[in-house]
Point group: C2
Chain length 343, copies 2
Amino acid sequence: MPSENHRPTQEDVAREAGVSRAVVSYVINNRSGGKVRISERTRRRVLEVVQRLGYQPNVNARSLRTRRSQLIAVMVPDLTNPFYPLMIRGIQAAVEGSDYHIVVYDSDDSAAHERAFVDMMLRRHVDGVVLVSFHLDVEDVRRLTQAGIQTVGIGGRLRAAGIDTVATRERPAAREIVRYLISRGHRRIAHLAGPQDTPPGQLRIQGYHEALEEAGLRYEEALVRYGTFKPAGVAQLIDSMFAASAPEQRPTAVFAANDLMAIEAIRALGRLGMRVPEDVAVCGFDNIPAAELVTPSLTTIGQDCQRMGRLAGETLLERLGAGARAEPRHVSVPYLLIVRESA
Amino acid sequence: MPSENHRPTQEDVAREAGVSRAVVSYVINNRSGGKVRISERTRRRVLEVVQRLGYQPNVNARSLRTRRSQLIAVMVPDLTNPFYPLMIRGIQAAVEGSDYHIVVYDSDDSAAHERAFVDMMLRRHVDGVVLVSFHLDVEDVRRLTQAGIQTVGIGGRLRAAGIDTVATRERPAAREIVRYLISRGHRRIAHLAGPQDTPPGQLRIQGYHEALEEAGLRYEEALVRYGTFKPAGVAQLIDSMFAASAPEQRPTAVFAANDLMAIEAIRALGRLGMRVPEDVAVCGFDNIPAAELVTPSLTTIGQDCQRMGRLAGETLLERLGAGARAEPRHVSVPYLLIVRESA
DNA sequence: AAAAGGTGCTTAATCGTGTAAGCTGAGACG
DNA sequence: CGTCTCAGCTTACACGATTAAGCACCTTTT
């Protein structure tokens, strides 16, 4: 039996309860407040039938009619980076209790996927969007906003698109952790940077730069290597940093642009026979869960991603409720220097 | 400007292109094959207008009409467990290139959420579902299948519901890793078990049991503690295992029911002044990414979750294509003993 | 007793799409 | 010259819901 079934519709409920379809709709949506009144007796009877038949309203039909889908789309670059699931939890928490539901898109950090997802959001007629994007441009975002879709960006990249944003102040954060390294006596501090064409990559290198400058240290090209925010390739970068130069020219500390890279760096250093933190100090950025599990545990900058998610969710709900507010709002989430064993 | 916009519909495209709405629909869906033919000239003109107006079909309306949503829902218990994002990647990979899209639900391992998500799937009229569930029962699954929703379960728990399943053979896997511990000379092997009311918890403890029996070792209640698959509380369990007994009565190895617990166990042992693996060997189950990052790196059972995801996705697509096949199919995914430093 | 007002329904239009069935005009054919 | 065929459209209904407007009946007011 393929059980290609007839699922109950309002029609079925109405027939069974001996009322018109409209009554069923009014009852289900609790719209007894306006001009239309439904007697308590009928209401009960309808609800009983709904229960008995296991009726579930067809949200496609409903959205078609109401022009609202009660959907919030969340796009993240990489679900396998623990950072983002936590952020989603935050958004989830903000949305819980409202009538909205979230749907998650994992773009796998691909520009093509990101564009495709924007299309999907338009086709699905989602009401709101939370974007964590490294590839979309202002024009892509405009397609969303022009369609009347409320949009919140996480990370400052899309500030120019005129949407609300929630972000960590990455530059000061990067500056602070490099300052910390300096305060511990380090003078030759290397930076394992993220991609230069992404704002997180840029901001972290800027912060690095500023901290050096403050302390009167020279910025040396030789101390900077560009990676991808992912573990792959980090070992080679570390090799090239340490193998090439004379011992006294080697960095005594490495500031990695994120934790994944930092952890991989520690392993690469181990293979080179260097101990962390005795020979080289290492610190990261993000404070992913693994940061405290590795040995040595990782000194890093804690971004409260769950809170960022919650703020993004709340901001979005506010917009969705109040309609258009005057100006886009940009919220900063505090960061935290977390000192552990690695530096 | 709130830009509560008029989004283009087929109507708009039709008007602009000087044809009827139906033509637009036929062109968009490439339905020139049947009785209806559209001239190449018109086709081009329509597509040009579609492009120019940035028309995107409203999938709500479409699903309403066609009774197919092209949606596959994926429900997982915990997005923050790295295991599941990988599985989702696998499903994603299987679905890529088909006309289906996936939507992810994170149930946060709550029975209430799981039920609520089943409702959502029914309301959204998703075409297929991949379930990783610890709480749904056969009746819940029947609600899905009765509504004509193709369903695939990951993990053997829902085999009784008559749906296709994809699973690792956890019992043999558990047996194998305990066998390995025995082969390394361990005789007093403790088990940090998962919840007794979940199949993964049960199967792993059964495998543990079988391996002991094979080797002629006695199963001792005192060597087993029940946890939750999460790090919280593990420290106390370890304390109670090791603090209480005389040194020669202590276990020399601990088999944890999953990696998260194993990692936490290693840390707890460290606080008790015991070295891993010299004083106590520890092994886990799952092979999450952190397993190779921690020190000592974790000996564990590798479940190829990405492959499980892909298989689940493929199975589902097959069902969705072919309609009803005769019998539910149960696929086993190979596991792998991964020996690292911790045991 | 007629008018007014309120309660509790029903009727019917509408959202944007897919698709079967009908229509039209031009060329082929007897 | 009338009929047939067929390519290439258009017409019209259906999907399942929301919601404004209308209607019947009863009670209260004038």
